[in-house]
Assembly symmetry: C2
Homo-oligomer: 125 residues x 2
DNA sequence: TTGACATATGAACATATATTCATGTATCTC
DNA sequence: GAGATACATGAATATATGTTCATATGTCAA
């Protein structure tokens, strides 16, 4: 197997058996599902949106209350809520000129809490 | 309460009681903890990194195997692994010139699976 | 020691993103 | 109807991000 003339790479003989690698590759997330999963995490990957969801975990709120809570303009908040709405993380209920937002999937709070635990773990190094 | 001369805003009298709002504000994630939580989600918010973590959920892998699995250059993969390592999501073990990466916190796979469930839910609209 | 290899990293570039500002729409009060 | 309010949205801009390319570091074989 140690042919010096071979155009050898790690993937070909140093590491895992190519067939095993291929099997793993087949089981990896791909396509629209992969994109959707990453998209949800991307939405959670912004401090403003984390705070919005955190605020909504205490119950339904109107846009201007949310703006007060996160310390941003109603416009900025509305833009973010639009993104969260598109991913079905929050839902809007209209009453007159008010829009009351609430969590569309309380599972999200679980993600938040789990991640909070991760970052709270002491660094072993 | 309906004083027409008052410089009234939603936050002042239309919606929640200001004191209640203030209590919620005090309980919101802030500072370094907020930033860290968002940072972890931001890392998970990229298809390449999701695939890397997904691949590592099947066990330890060297960089070149990971590059094969995700279909990117070893350089690109190394850059991403560096970010994941900084957030203690993966850990590296060196053996000679090889670097074997593995999950540093299997909790992450839970986050992945939970999110997968969310995006798999049928759209009620 | 020489050359090949596995990985790491800095710079650069193209793309994506978050907020601001201006404006639009719908609703409410007077 | 007129003016104010609550929210939404398009454009613009400044910043962040992911990949590529070139190069560096450490390891192994001959």
């Amino acid at each position: 197997m140690y042919l010096s003339t071979m155009d050898a790479t790690c993937a070909e003989f140093h590491a895992s058996d190519p067939a095993a690698l291929e099997r793993i590759k087949e089981r990896l997330l791909t396509g629209p599902l992969l994109e959707s999963v990453a998209e949800v995490f991307k939405l959670l990957g912004d401090p403003t949106r984390v705070r919005l969801l955190d605020a909504l975990s205490h119950g339904e709120r109107c846009v201007c209350d949310l703006a007060t809570l996160v310390g941003l303009s109603e416009s900025a908040v509305s833009h973010q809520l639009r993104l969260l709405r598109a991913a079905r993380l929050v839902r809007a209920r209209r009453t007159g000129r008010m829009a009351f937002y609430s969590l569309d999937d309380h599972h999200v709070i679980g993600l938040l809490n789990d991640t909070r635990k991760h970052v709270a773990e002491p660094d072993p190094s």
